[in-house]
Symmetry: C2
Subunit: 476 residues, 2 copies
């Protein structure tokens, strides 16, 4: 683990003991896990050093969550919510110790309402299982974070997760109509609605979406669905440089196309894919993976048009179309395997998740080259090019390089902001990006968010140490 | 005017005098309007009795707005923001007196960025003028509230305005990437971003969208645009009952169609349209106005399919297709004229804006019939059937009927909530619906929203008397 967790004051043993005893009496001792059992709850899929919780509540109902937040609040003990634990920024790590409240046991799909295209689910439902359930009803839930086989809807909502299909269909937050949440102290409420439109009161739903478990713990989600697109076609465009890819993205949008996904891989990414055994034309030094969906005739027309455009103006070396579902799955498996595959290229890896306006992708790619050259740190870039959301990976082998890596990341963040972009497209801020927040947010904006945090959680006990730069840490 | 404004304590003459003097010195006396000049700033397009402000600030820059909120805060004087003044719930009425800060003078389209499909505008830009400007660039800004010829983007964002095209494209809030706002005391900041994706910090943009000018005054909007759909086709389906219309809406969605607009008119609405001189087949007692857009072949295919479906299973009396843009404009002019036209049918009218899940439209229409029968109050219903968002109008001539009207509206609100709906789809809560808020929101949810309001505006000076039920008023 290569990023230190912030050091926060730990709760007292006496307070922890009282919370444990009172909770055991309220929700039953079998729902409390401690000792060796907690070891799986101290880390996530980020590079942040793990911190073990003092104990874990295996919640199976909203009442269990509410009891936890009521009793912990009374004793001043921190609580860290956790769904699938697949986050990339340390958001689920209990950096202040105390209690982890695990909502994986709240895993029911309560309702799929076909007529209104609405589902009501619990936070522990695995995203891919939900896809399957709604598609069996002829419906479609677009958000598809890379970890969809393991991540859970509660974590997706808490982090406003994205994925390739966000390009056409928007991110998780665009599908959340309402939710039930428990706040510190145990207050429980439904916010939002289950209708497509509604402007009754403040939009608390959107405030809770993406708040990374720092404002409330989600216990039920009311999600909007869509009709399942009848036809999907997948294309692969090979290029001799990543810069040609960037130009092709611009050309596609100028021509009025909105693919449902438009993924970019640079030379290093292709190397990682080839290392996994994928046979990619050796001339290719970058590729675009592109998906179009809709009604049959419109999609066929778009596939022809996009194919011609890539071959022609965009200068693609070769354009391949997936001939069937299994070819399509193989292309996506290669894309989804990229994040683990890049880990094998070097001893250490840090992955960023910046976004720039689409027209600035080529500029960002040039900045990444310049940063890599100036610092001597190897980079590898892939991601959701259509959204301007790129995963820039920094790779190194010798621990002594770490200082240069940090300055490379800082330079990337500065470039991103100066290109009109934002620090994170879909991973959130968590622990790993908190120090960079002041690059994008003014002190007044950070202070306003901290005021809002205090409105929900005056003692700062819910998921402490996340999003906001630690006091005394200084800004970068 | 048939709804009383809430009575709030008025600011002292001395405080008003000091605010006026200090402001005149800071922003220039010519930007302050008082005396007879304020008469146009005391009402909106609702049925709420007007209240005159003590004076009006004609802001032409963000600095003017900030100076107003700084000086008013220091003296404890209320401030009510106003853009186009076309709201339907009294939101722009300065019910506590004090200052109206008018942002109509902030009316620049600062930027239309074609490559990234983003625009940056000021709040005083008229919605229709913005449509024209972006369409001239081959782009598209979908939100189309009925008042689009007069309303302004600042008011649209403050109220999260909808319109017919919300069915396919979503409401105003779905197009707001970021904004600049001034808070009480004069703090000014940008929140949000200009990229399509971004999860850096809390979603304050969505919190401010639809907050009805109670949290901050908007001074700049960063809006997302879309490619302009190349082809639009408009259909009219005539039915012998409004219930047949409701069933047709369900059938259309079951068949997988997502029209860009799907508007319903009941018998009373048709009468209002016929009174305006429109020749509508005399057999028709209800109609659906339906619009499809996209690429040519796909749209033609959908028009054929929808036409057959309306004729066949849905039992339409007749289906008409607009043959050209001028026929199309005439159909929409008739739709847009409905709200003023219904005013001529009786001396008094109150219009509600409820939403139910789409599958419950038929149930809601039956409830409206039952309420009308039980109370003897005439009703007339039209609206955005595809969204389940219906404008239910109550019409009467004799002031003595008023009590029955109030009980009919209360019954409608109760029915809406019990059908899983929400009090307002696009007009907001403002003054007119504040008393009904407790039917939908629990006391805890109202209290949480009031806590958030205090975080932005601890003295309760910004647009007071809106959204939340007045103290001592009791709930219904």
């Amino acid at each position: 683990m290569i990023i230190a967790a912030p050091r926060l004051p730990r709760p007292s043993e006496a307070a922890l003991h009282r919370v444990r005893q009172t909770l055991a009496a309220r929700i039953g001792p079998s729902r409390i896990l401690d000792g060796d059992g907690v070891s799986a709850f101290g880390h996530d899929e980020s590079e942040v050093a793990g911190v073990l919780p003092d104990f874990v509540v295996l919640a199976e109902s909203e009442a269990h969550v509410a009891a936890t937040l009521e009793i912990a609040q009374a004793e001043g003990v921190p609580v860290t919510p956790r769904a699938g634990g697949t986050g990339r920024t340390g958001g689920a790590i209990p950096v202040g110790g105390g209690v982890v409240v695990a909502t994986a046991g709240l895993a029911r799909i309560k309702e799929i309402d076909r007529a209104n295209m609405v589902a009501v689910v619990e936070p522990g439902v695995v995203t891919r299982a939900f896809h399957d359930a709604v598609e069996a009803e002829g419906l479609f839930y677009p958000p598809d974070p890379n970890s969809l086989h393991n991540c859970m809807l509660g974590g997706n909502v808490a982090n406003n997760a994205g994925g390739p299909r966000a390009l056409k269909y928007g991110v998780t937050g665009d599908y959340v109509l309402g939710l039930r949440a428990v706040f510190m102290g145990g207050r429980t409420m439904f916010v939002g609605r289950r209708t497509p439109k509604g402007v009754t009161g403040y939009d608390l739903t959107s405030l809770l979406v993406g708040s990374e478990g720092t404002l409330g713990v989600l216990t039920e989600l009311t999600l909007r669905l869509r009709p399942k697109p009848p036809v999907v076609r997948t294309l692969l465009g090979l290029f001799d440089s990543v810069h040609a890819c960037g130009a092709a993205v611009t050309a596609l949008f100028h021509a009025g196309h909105v693919p449902r996904a438009l993924e970019l891989m640079d030379e290093g990414s292709l190397e990682a894919v080839r290392n996994q055994g994928a046979a990619v034309d050796p001339r290719a030094r970058a590729l675009l993976l592109l998906e179009l969906d809709g009604h049959e005739r419109a999609v066929e027309e778009a596939v022809d048009h996009v194919g011609n455009l890539l071959h022609g103006a965009a200068g693609s070396l070769e354009v391949l179309a997936a001939q069937d579902a299994s070819q399509r799955d193989r292309l996506w498996d290669a894309r989804r395997a990229l994040s683990p595959a890049t880990k094998k290229l070097a001893r250490f890896k840090l992955s960023e998740d910046v976004v720039v306006p689409r027209s600035r992708i080529a500029d960002l790619l040039r900045e990444v080259d310049a940063i890599s050259e100036a610092t001597g740190v190897r980079t590898l870039t892939y991601g959701h090019a259509g959204d301007g959301n790129l995963h820039v990976n920094f790779l190194w082998n010798d621990p002594s390089e770490r200082e240069r890596v940090d300055s490379a990341i800082l330079a990337l963040m500065r470039s991103t902001v100066s290109l009109g972009g934002t620090l994170s497209g879909e991973h959130g801020i968590g622990v790993t990006k908190a120090a960079y927040l002041p690059l994008e947010h003014t002190p007044e904006l950070v202070a306003l968010q901290e005021d809002l945090k205090r409105t929900f959680d005056p003692k700062g006990l819910l998921n402490p140490g996340k999003i906001f730069p630690s006091r005394g840490h200084g800004s970068c």
